[in-house]
Structure formats: structure tokens, C-alpha cells
Amino acid sequence: MDVLFAKYLFRRILSAVLLIVLVITINFFIIHLAPGDPATIMTGLENPSPQIIEALKRKYNLDKPLLVQYFKYMTNLLKGDLGFSYVYDQPSWKLIGPRVFPTLSITVTASVLAFTLGTYLAVLASRLRKKFGDLIFSLISYVLYAMPSFWLGLILILVFASKLRWFPTSGMFDMRASYEGFRKVLDYLHHLFLPVFTLLLIQLPVFYRVTRASIVQNLREDYVTVLSAVGLPNDKLFKKYVMKNSIIPAVTIFGITLGFSITGAALIEIVFAWPGMGRLLLDAVFRRDYQLLLSIYFLMAVFISVAMIVTDIVIAVLDPRVRLL
């Protein structure tokens, strides 16, 4: 860990903090400038009396000017207060907390599988170069890349749940069975399979294509020419040098994907009725639950930033040239 790298890391952390502030600010103002008065929505009535609205506004500080609300919100965040959901009448973290594990169990599992499988297939395809297999792989990756995630999910439900009955159509547990212990874990995995498989298929082409392009590019580099000219066997050259350099872009994308994983795959969660973060987020959008929405966005920004920094460190370890930038 040299001084240069420490400096580089410091710059990255600084810009991450900046990014979080920027994201929160943009979202705060978009949400608060939107038409539709949250106090009116909160009452849940067609024609609420002015008194109710007045009282609600006072309770949640909605009667103060926007800038005052903004600074109040920011100072609360610094104190570790994520916010308060108007709609559920509960602190945001209480709503978010139970959603974290179900969401991460889909997104992280899928991303890890997509990264491993995607880079593996790319390496495989580059060994098959000029052959029929490469064309098939790349056509499949085009099609998967173009697939709307929600539609793919529905089709998989149609085939594997409705017709073949191999997997349950939706939810996280079998409500009728109420299993305990190990059976419960199995039931969970059984429900987890289709959503993870959907997300895996959606993410796979991204890793595949990036790694594939990177391998092609790496094979043109001077070091490959030199090393093969001095007589290094192709196989060894590929395994020892080309592969290591070629997975770097995939590692970057993996980092970003992990950063996004906290918000879940909202559309897939909807399709599979999975009680995760993405559905909470969509619910918050539809119900104008501004505070809850902001809390989720804040968490997302922090998660993404941390993932970026960790990715940077990993890449710096893999590729020492980066440290000099």
C-alpha cells in the first residue's frame, strides 16, 4: 500500500461521498417538486378537511419551506436517522430491515453465478473461435440481452411452474405447509430457484460480452505477440496472462452489479411476488411514500459507492498499472 495508492483511494472516497450527497439532493428535490400533496394523500380521504391536512403538515414538518426541510433531512441522515414512512407510520429502517435478506439472496446469488458462468463461457467461446459454437453463443447472448426481465420471469413461471409444476409460482415459502428447520430452508431454496434463474439469464450476457471483447482485445496486445514469439506455449500464455487481464472489465461490472443488488430486481420481485426491497421501492413510488423512498435511495447510493471502492481496490490488486493513475 504505497502513498500513491492511498492518495488514489482517498480521491475515490471523496468522490463517493460527493456522489451520495448529489444523488440524495437530486431525489429530494424531484420528489418534493412533484405535484400531489403528501398530506392530502396521507389522509386517505377523497375530501379531507383542512384541519387534518394542517395537523399532518405540522407533524411531519411539511409546512416549512423546502430548503429548511432539506437541511433538516440532511442533518437527520448524519445522525443516522434514515427517515420515517408516512404511509406505514413506522421508521423507515423497520420496513427496510426485513427486506434486505430476501433481496440479497436473489441478487447476490444471481450475480455471483452470472459472473462465474459468464466469464467461463466467454473463455470457452474464445477457445472455440471461428467455430460454429461461437456464433451460437453470441446469438444467444443477443437474445438474452434483449429480453425484458419481467417477461422472461413470466415465461419461466408458465413453463416450469404452471405446466411442469417443478417449482412454485410465487412467494418465498409454502404458506400451507409451515415447515420448520431444515425443511424450511429447502422450501426457501425451492422458491428461490426461478427468480434467481431469471436474473441469472438476464445478467449473463453482460458478463459474457464484456469478457469476450476483452479477450479479443488482449490477444492483440504486444505482450501476446512477444511471449508467443519467444516460444511460450499458447495454452500457458492464455491461462497465465490473457485470462487474468481479460477478466478485469468483468470484475468492474460485477462490482457495480453488487452495488445495485440492494435495490433488488424490482421487476422480477413483482413477477414472483417476492417480499424484497424492490417491491417495497415500487410500493413507495405508487403510494407517494416520499420519506421511505428517500431512505431506500440513500441506502442504495451508499451501497453502490462502497461497492465501487471495493471494486477499485480489487482491480488495483489485479492490475498494478491502475495505481499510477
Binding site: Y142, V143, P148, I155, Q217
Partner: protein, 281 residues
């Protein structure tokens, strides 16, 4: 002129580029002549509900007895419009901002670059979602919002292009001749540097089509138009006994998005022939 014919030749020589172009023209004809091609009006309801594909209804009918084939054909209009308007707006904003940022440089460039980076790191879909949810479910809004949130990748490409072009001799000569910066940007830099943005825009058309489909699927699409996403959403409750109502709109979405990926790759290969040499060797 020579450059253009060369470019076209290179584009057509790429397998994907050619396939993409043919698929696109087919799609375009389908959208333009939708009323002629479709045997029924997309909104016509009938007693023939949820009937499987047959000679009368090639793609079957949905839960209101509407002809799925006619609806799919009309849906192409919405998807192509959304794709082109949103990606066009995104390209326009990206080109102008990227060129200004790269040409002016200094603090201005730093601020713009920071904004671009932040946008690129942020899952824009949720931003689009909020804006559409609160401002209204209207096709025009949807296209505008997608365009206004996806320009940063174009701006980044254009900025890099500008930085390299502005060091070229012809720009230096123009500057020495006393041409104004606005003139230099709009007559020299943008026309010479925008091609990579065009290739990126083809990809963005596909992205915009998917975004519109997702919004419609969530019930945030324009209620007055027939769109593939909305058809999928409508068909969800009936899919286990009427697969045709959900399968066909999805397949057409996939084909359309693949078309624009092909075109984007074809343009990319025509732009950077060296890369494709390696690829096709």
C-alpha cells in the same frame, strides 16, 4: 462522400449490420402500414375471448376478445416511436453537452464530468419510474424522461471525441482564422465526431423500448395506446390458460431490441474496422 460510401460498404459487409437493417425495415413497414396489415382494429372487442391461434386469429385473442396479432402489429408503432424519440433526444443532449464540455475544458468540464459519472453510476430506471409516477402516465412524458436521463453515456463519448478532434490541424486552422467557438463546435467538431454516438444511440433505442415496456408492465404506461408491455401486463392473469396472449408481444419486443443491437454492432464495426478484422479473422 468517399468516406460515406466506404462506411456504408463496411456496414453492409458485417453480418449483424445487414441482418439488423433488414429486420429494421421489416419492422418499419409493419409499423407504418399497421392498419393495412392488421386484420382487425387493435381495440375491437368480440365474444371470441381467449381463443387459441387459428386461421381467423393468427396469434389468438385476449381476455376481451381482441385480436392479439393486430395489437402486436400496432404495438410496433409505440415501441419504435418511443425508441427513436427518446434515443434521439438523448443523442442530441449528449452531443451538445459532451462537445461543449470537451471543447471548453477547465472547471466547466470537471463539473460536467462529475455529473456524467454520477448519472452513469445510478440506476436511472428508478428515477424514470418516480418521474412518470408523479407527473403522469403520458407517452410524451415517458419519451422525454427517458431521453433526459440517458444522455450521459452519449455525452461521455462525445467529450472524448471532442478532446481528440480539437487537437487536429483543421480545427487549429479554423481557430487561427478567427472562427468563433460556436461555429467550430457545430461545423467542425460535431459533424466529424458524432459517429460513435450514433452507434451508441442504436443501442439506446433498444434500451428505451425495454424501459417503456417495463413501465407499461408496471401499469405506468400511457393508457391510451396499445403497447407490448401493457399487453403482457393485461395477459398476466390469463397466461396459464392463454399462453399466446403473453408470448407474442414478448417475442416481438425481443426481436425489436435485438434488431437495434445488431445495427449498433454493425455501425461499431463500420466505424472501427480494425476491431472487426480481429473479430472475423
Amino acid at each position: 462522400m468517399r468516406f460515406r460510401t466506404d462506411f456504408a460498404k463496411r456496414y453492409l459487409s458485417s453480418r449483424y449490420g445487414l441482418a439488423g437493417l433488414i429486420m429494421f425495415l421489416t419492422m418499419l413497414i409493419m409499423a407504418l402500414f399497421a392498419p393495412v396489415i392488421a386484420p382487425y382494429k387493435p381495440t375491437d372487442i368480440s365474444h371470441d375471448m381467449l381463443s387459441p391461434p387459428s386461421k381467423v386469429h393468427p396469434f389468438g385473442t385476449d381476455h376481451l376478445g381482441r385480436d392479439v396479432f393486430s395489437r402486436v402489429v400496432h404495438g410496433a408503432r409505440v415501441s419504435l416511436t418511443v425508441g427513436f424519440v427518446a434515443a434521439g433526444l438523448s443523442a442530441l443532449i449528449g452531443i451538445v453537452i459532451g462537445a461543449l464540455s470537451g471543447y471548453i475544458g477547465g472547471v466547466f468540464d470537471e463539473v460536467i464530468s462529475k455529473i456524467i459519472d454520477s448519472f452513469l453510476m445510478f440506476p436511472v430506471f428508478f428515477l424514470i419510474l418516480i418521474i412518470v409516477a408523479v407527473f403522469g402516465r403520458n407517452l410524451v412524458y415517458i419519451m422525454l424522461v427517458i431521453g433526459l436521463t440517458t444522455w450521459p453515456s452519449n455525452a461521455r463519448i462525445m467529450r472524448a471525441q471532442t478532446m481528440s478532434i480539437k487537437e487536429k490541424a483543421f480545427v487549429k486552422i479554423a481557430r487561427a482564422n478567427g472562427e468563433s467557438p460556436t461555429r467550430i463546435i457545430f461545423t467542425h467538431i460535431i459533424p466529424n465526431g458524432m459517429y460513435p454516438v450514433v452507434a451508441n444511440s442504436a443501442m439506446q433505442i433498444g434500451g428505451a423500448i425495454l424501459t417503456e415496456a417495463a413501465l407499461s408492465f408496471l401499469g405506468l404506461g400511457d393508457p391510451s395506446v396499445v403497447s407490448w408491455g401493457k399487453m403482457i401486463n393485461d395477459a398476466r392473469s390469463y397466461m396459464s390458460f392463454a399462453w399466446w396472449s403473453i408470448v407474442f408481444p414478448g417475442i416481438f419486443t425481443v426481436i425489436t431490441v435485438v434488431t437495434f443491437s445488431f445495427i449498433g454492432d454493425g455501425l461499431q464495426q463500420a466505424l472501427y474496422p480494425k476491431l472487426s478484422e480481429v473479430r472475423n479473422e
